[in-house]
């Protein structure tokens, strides 16, 4: 696999999920294990640019894929704009859900740009817009036990505004 730009060759038990491969074998512990059943979003990473839950996919199924984790988005001193916006807006309390929230939100903005509609998009034939309602719906696959939701929406809105 290509993980955050580096080719990583690993031998794994077939049962290893992508999440466990990243955390236990590649020591990339930014992606978190919340539920391990696709119900919380803490394990969100990008595979070939698309956000997925890394707990519900096998590492062996990603031979040759490009994986981006929170570590690949940015590092202390060189933060991704979304990471910086989460800090500025207090988009977290305990921080456990945050890597997943940030990976999901970066990919969600790409989905809006690509014209992917959502459950709350009023007109399926129009380009979807970045509104608070759209962001809340598109980020519903990431649960925050601390309830930092409104600050998360503010952080994403700021980044979307700067991109536009």
């Amino acid at each position: 696999m290509r993980v955050n730009g580096d080719v990583r060759a690993i031998q794994l038990d077939t049962r290893t999920t992508l999440l466990d491969a990243l955390r236990e074998h590649l020591q990339l512990t930014g992606s978190k294990k919340g539920c391990d059943h696709g119900q919380c979003g803490a394990c969100t990473v990008m595979v070939n640019g698309q956000r997925i839950y890394s707990c519900l996919t096998l590492a062996v199924m990603h031979d040759g894929d490009a994986i981006t984790t929170i570590e690949g988005l940015g590092q202390p001193g060189n933060l991704h704009p979304m990471q910086a916006a989460f800090v500025r807006h207090d988009g977290y309390q305990c921080g456990y859900c945050t890597p997943g929230q940030i990976c999901a939100s970066v990919a969600a903005l790409e989905e809006i740009k690509a014209g992917v509609p959502s459950h709350v998009t009023a007109d399926l034939m129009a380009m979807p817009q970045v509104t608070a309602e759209e962001l809340r719906e598109r980020m519903s696959g990431n649960i925050c036990r601390c309830g930092a939701y409104s600050n998360i929406v503010d952080a994403i809105t700021e980044v979307a505004g700067r991109q536009a």
């Binding site: 038990d13 077939t14 049962r15 999920t17 391990d36 059943h37 696709g38 979003g41 969100t44 698309q50 956000r51 997925i52 839950y53 519900l56 996919t57 096998l58 062996v60 199924m61 999901a104 990919a107 969600a108 989905e111 690509a114 014209g115 992917v116 509609p117 959502s118 459950h119 998009t121 399926l124 034939m125 809340r136 719906e137 598109r138 980020m139 519903s140 696959g141 990431n142």
Partner: protein, 316 residues
């Protein structure tokens, strides 16, 4: 998870042959349902056949003017396809009402059709469940049944089929295309694809064990207003209590399929003649013979009111 071996199939025929060769094997597509169930040891395949990368990820126009959706097309891509958004809005809406962005990016057309029930007792491996362990009994009957089925149920199982996508496909008269290890291909109308539980709730579809889904086709567009309305306990990222997929024409005629009420997407073509008379009459005909439990009788009322609201939206 139980240990298993793994291979990548290179063609649909090879996938079907591989599954036929090894009795305990399963196909894996997006993996979002199968791996969840394998972690809980509800599914315990000894061999997985990865069917990603078979080139079945395209949506093509059919000579008849409909669409042929490859089995591996992701739910996100299907909902975002311009032809689907324009001509089959009820399908795009149903897909977007299901799961979350991350799951829709992985979930495939075939995997979505074949996802298993969300009955809490099916998941509770300490409980008897005829679907999980044939002949063990049904812990849901007499248990907590708020989410379970109200029509087409049996004494062996009262579970529902959880897919949103399949409900819209039922309203659109989709056809499931398959191939078997011996090379025979067939087309299964969606109405006959999912089964009622009867005495064998572990047999959920009309498919043979070595049958592989290659595509789902949609007939040419039928026009009309397309609405999918899903009622659930939270506004997003939750399964339906009741859902209504409807295509309503200007003259008030139309089609209606229900989710969250039965072991399969529930549609009664004969009852659709009542649609111009309104939701009350129509739903009484659609849910004629319903046998709800004390806990889920509310679904009958909820279905009628949801249809009323859908019809108002479609006419408005």
């Amino acid at each position: 998870m139980r240990p298993f071996t793994y291979e990548r199939a290179r063609s649909p025929a090879e996938a079907a042959t591989a599954v036929a060769r090894q009795p305990d094997s399963k196909f894996i597509a997006g993996g979002t349902n199968l791996l969840d169930l394998m972690k809980l040891q509800i599914e315990t395949p000894a061999h997985l056949i990865d069917v990603n990368g078979l080139g079945l990820d395209r949506i093509e126009a059919t000579p008849e003017g409909g669409l042929r959706i490859g089995a591996l097309v992701r739910n996100t891509s299907l909902a975002a396809d311009e032809r689907v958004r324009r001509d089959y809005g009820v399908l795009a809406r149903a897909l977007l009402a299901g799961a979350s962005g991350q799951l829709r990016n992985k979930a495939t057309t075939a995997g979505n059709l074949l996802q298993r029930t969300r009955c809490p007792y099916f998941y509770g491996t300490a409980q008897p469940c005829n679907k999980r362990q044939p002949g063990s009994g049904c812990a849901a009957i007499g248990g907590v049944t708020r989410q379970l089925g109200v029509i087409g149920t049996s004494e062996a199982c009262i579970a529902t089929h959880p897919s949103d996508m399949a409900v819209a496909m039922r309203a659109l008269d989709a056809v499931v295309e398959t191939i078997r290890a011996d090379g025979t291909a067939r087309r299964i109308p969606i109405a006959e694809f999912h089964r009622l539980p009867g005495e064998t709730p572990h047999i959920e579809t009309a498919m043979a064990r070595d049958e592989f889904i290659t595509a789902v086709t949609l007939p040419p567009p039928i026009g009309g207003r397309h609405v999918y309305r899903k009622v659930r306990d939270r506004a997003s990222y939750a399964f339906a209590l009741v859902s209504v997929a409807a295509v309503v024409q200007r003259d008030g005629t139309g089609r209606v399929a229900l989710g969250g009420v039965a072991h399969k997407p529930w549609r009664v073509e004969a009852a659709e003649a009542e649609l111009p008379r309104g939701a009350k009459q129509a739903m009484a005909a659609i849910l004629d013979g319903a046998q709800p439990t004390h806990d889920n009788a509310f679904k009958v009322t909820l279905a009628e009111r949801t249809l009323a609201s859908v019809l108002a939206e479609a006419r408005g």
